[in-house]
């Protein structure tokens, strides 16, 4: 059996016939071949699968593709500019060494962008709380926290023009 799912991914319409039990992350990685969204735990713990749904960070391993029917999804592939200029949050992760192996990074960046949209100048405490749903096995978080603080400021500055 299958159902038709229609949504927007990185600004482009995406429609496909999928099995009902298809997870959003499976649709993104296997149907759309956008493999920047990672699966770390598959149990809602690690946040590596975080994408933006209608502007809010969600764990794409913990929902059916059909729960995103009609939604606007952004994945890590959709945040840089078309000419390759990194998003301010991506640039901040690079600048502040916010990654080592990079496996957790797409989820970290997607969650951080949503968080920074409502926190232009977050405190260290606020950033650490915002990272409760994202695990990193490499960095010890310190540079991720620094990167998000800098990225949030850069996003606010870019928005102010």
């Amino acid at each position: 059996m299958s159902v038709k799912v229609s949504l927007k991914v990185n600004g482009k319409p995406a429609t496909a016939e999928v099995e009902e039990r298809t997870l959003l992350v499976t649709f993104i990685r296997e149907t759309l071949r956008l493999t920047g969204t990672h699966v770390g735990c598959d149990t809602a713990q690690c946040g590596a699968c975080t994408v933006s749904m209608n502007g809010k960070a969600v764990k794409s391993c913990s929902m059916l593709a059909m729960q995103a029917e009609g939604a606007d999804i952004t994945t890590i592939e959709g945040v840089a500019k078309a000419d390759g200029t990194l998003h301010p949050m991506q640039a901040a992760f690079k600048e502040h060494h916010g990654l080592q192996c990079g496996f957790c990074t797409p989820g970290m960046v997607m969650n951080a962008i949503d968080f920074a949209n409502s926190h232009a100048n977050p405190s260290e405490q606020e950033i650490r709380e915002a990272l409760e749903g994202n695990l990193c096995r490499c960095t010890g978080y310190h540079n991720i926290v620094k990167a998000i603080g800098a990225g949030a400021k850069a996003m606010a500055a870019a928005a102010a023009g």
């Binding site: 039990r21 809602a44 764990k59 749903g133």
Partner: protein
Amino acid sequence: MHAFKYHRPASIDAAAALAKGEAKLLAGGQSLVQAMKLRLASPSDIIDLGAIKSLAGIKSDGKTVTIGAMTRHAEVNHSADVKKAIPALAAMAGMIGDRQVRAMGTCGGSIANNDPAADYPAAVLALNATITTNKGRHEADKFFKGMFDTALQPGEIVTSVSFQVPKRAAYMKFKNPASRFAIVGVFVADFGGMVRVAVTGAGPGVFRQPEMEKALAAKFAPESVANIKVKQDGLNTDLHASAEYRAHLVTVMAKRAVEAALK
């Protein structure tokens, strides 16, 4: 995950007509989708409530705050109306899981699920809430039936939950640092002369603490509960905490909740 048929009804009536046999309602999916992956749940049909607009939203009239079943934890946490009427309820919603979970998880899903360590059941019980469904109403005191069990009949759909506005209230949670669920959480609500104390995480289901309620009704102050020893009989022992430790935490969290309510 086992295969199932997927439905996306646009109204409560259409959803109710589908909610038969081995079908299951789907709200945020934050508990159910994981349970299905583990094959702890294998419904024949999934009835996604996500397209039913009337199930989401918050109303506040000074006496009660009514939260639609599909209202996400993040919306309750950020709602100016909830923050004004019952700040402790907004704060409780902000303590659930992590920000991604709060963007999806719903009020209706949390209370229908009735996880013994969940936060919403403590708020429902302490704030003497009324649970409205497509079939009628349930009082908080008769709704929670122990581990993962409620007064809901098969196929009954929670539509909203109305919380009574207290004079003051606070929720204190001792979190499991890995899962963020409550090892012990205590919600204290003072209605002026009548106090309700609800405890989650400690036992097989959420429960009230009458001894503390009586002491706080006489005098709403931290010292009223500080020396109340909670019995460990019937409390949970697991790899995270012993029953003895949980019993101790109930008193500590209750005292902190009273302190916070007085601030």
